[in-house]
């Protein structure tokens, strides 16, 4: 951005490979924790919603309202309570995954044909076995679709958590902005996009591997 300076200074990149690897690691870690915890919370809430139908409206309302709050604003609102910590970042990140995940888990399980459910119950399946061996496997493609969207969204939001001191690839973008130095700026930006695409592809391949029956169609 300074006149005469090339857009990307490869010598800077070569000299900072360790730092870049560290930032990628932080980014993946923040994302994995958020999606992992989000999945557990969303799964529990989804089971409750499926069991007690009246819970659906309030749950979707709360998750939907949370989703509307801008990420920077949510992180900022949490800072006075939990400080500039990883907890602040994760509370926000987990909160954003809930709407997408609950919608897909509940929708996926509801889309299991009633005949299939009846047949399993007729064969003497318990409710628990019905869930784990029939409903969840059949709902898996829809659930994985939700996990994909939640993961990609989270990777994007993690860049913002650099503002509350949590590192990740957003950190490279921030120092690029602060120092008027386009190299880390672009390295951070390109890598965060590449990371999102790479993880999405990995999730698609995993889904294909664990649902071989879906491929036959």
């Amino acid at each position: 951005m300074t006149a005469g300076e090339p857009l990307v200074r490869w010598d800077w990149v070569a000299g900072h490979l360790d730092e870049i690897a560290l930032r990628i690691g932080e980014h993946v870690e923040l994302t994995a924790i958020a999606v992992g915890v989000g999945l557990l919370v969303a799964f529990a809430l989804s089971l409750l919603v499926l069991r007690y139908g009246w819970l659906e409206q309030p749950t979707t309302f709360v998750a939907g309202t949370l989703y509307t709050i801008p990420s920077l604003a949510l992180f900022a609102l949490l800072v006075p309570y939990t400080g500039l910590t990883i907890l602040t970042a994760e509370i926000g990140l987990v909160g954003y995954t809930l709407l997408i995940l609950i919608r897909n888990i509940v929708g996926g399980i509801r889309s299991v044909p009633a005949e299939v459910r009846e047949a399993a119950l007729g064969m003497g399946y318990s409710r628990g076995r019905l869930l784990w061996e029939v409903e969840l496997p059949l709902a898996l493609p829809v659930i994985v679709a939700g996990i994909r969207i939640a993961t990609i969204t989270t990777i994007g939001l993690v860049t913002v958590t650099a503002l509350i001191g949590q590192g990740g690839l957003g950190y490279l973008i921030l120092i690029g902005i602060q120092r008027f130095f386009s190299t880390p700026l672009l390295v951070g930006a390109v890598l965060s996009v590449a990371l999102a695409i790479a993880i999405d592809v990995a999730l698609v391949l995993t889904q294909r591997a664990v649902t071989p029956w879906a491929r036959a169609k």
């Binding site: 951005m1 857009l7 309202t65 509307t68 709050i69 801008p70 990420s71 920077l72 604003a73 949510l74 900022a76 609102l77 800072v79 006075p80 309570y81 969207i149 990609i152 969204t153 990777i155 994007g156 939001l157 993690v158 860049t159 913002v160 650099a162 503002l163 509350i164 690839l169 957003g170 973008i173 921030l174 690029g176 902005i177 386009s182 700026l185 672009l186 951070g188 930006a189 390109v190 965060s192 996009v193 999102a196 695409i197 999405d200």
Partner: protein
């Protein structure tokens, strides 16, 4: 809630209530106005590009795969990275910091949902009705204007809503590149460790986003209502 929690919220609200924060070049009305300027300009440009393309693709039924998946592709571009890409471009064009790089980053953010929804909206118009309209001698543009657009209006509006709310939320990042808008309070609040300012900024952005969401909800409902009234049962 403990005393500390209460004090954070009340001090944020006290900051908002302070008359001194409602005037001048860092005053709330001006910051809201700056925020809306960025939003209207970037959503406007995105709509001017995406609506005709989406509607054309929907009308002809071409490139449906692209139109539907462009939204997924857009999601892979984190908002902060869009800003990072926009900054060198803005400098190369001599537009500098602040407003322009922010607007430049917001346009690609707003494009995908508008394009995808415009495509879906036109595509899902009842094909028999479209054929009937053609049979009555309507030209293609008339079919689009009289049949397909009114039927798909709620979906088009839903796309605009997603785009606008996204932009309102994300335009806060513009403050990082010396832009105005409500992000100013959040970024300055973080930098100065001024919790009241931070909380006030966050509350204002959240309110603006949720208010816009609600306003579009009403608009969508109204567009459906018009359709229901216009149609004989």
């Amino acid at each position: 809630m403990g005393a500390r929690e209460v004090s954070v919220i009340t001090s944020g609200l006290a900051w908002l209530a302070d008359g001194a924060h409602w005037q001048g070049s860092d005053g709330i009305p001006l910051r809201v106005l700056e925020h809306l300027e960025i939003t209207v300009l970037s959503v406007g440009i995105a709509a001017a590009v995406a609506l005709p393309i989406g509607m054309y693709l929907g009308h002809t039924g071409r490139l449906g795969f692209v139109a539907v998946n462009v939204a997924n592709l857009g999601r892979a571009f984190p908002s902060l990275s869009l800003l990072a890409f926009a900054l060198p471009i803005s400098f190369a064009l001599g537009l500098g910091l602040g407003f322009w790089p922010t607007a430049m980053a917001m346009v690609p953010l707003a494009l995908p949902p508008i394009l995808t929804n415009a495509y879906v909206a036109i595509r899902q118009a009842d094909r028999d009705t479209v054929e009937a309209a053609r049979g009555m001698g309507m030209r293609e543009l008339q079919v689009l204007r009289i049949v397909e657009i009114p039927a798909g209006l709620p979906i088009v509006l839903a796309g605009l809503r997603t785009a606008t709310v996204n932009v309102i939320a994300t335009a806060t990042l513009g403050a990082l590149v010396a832009g105005g808008g409500l992000g100013r309070y959040i970024v300055d609040g973080l930098a100065l460790q001024d919790v009241e300012r931070l909380v006030a900024g966050a509350v204002l952005v959240a309110l603006l986003a949720m208010g816009t969401e609600a306003a579009f909800g009403l608009l969508e409902r109204a567009s459906r209502h018009t359709l229901a009234v216009g149609r004989e049962p």
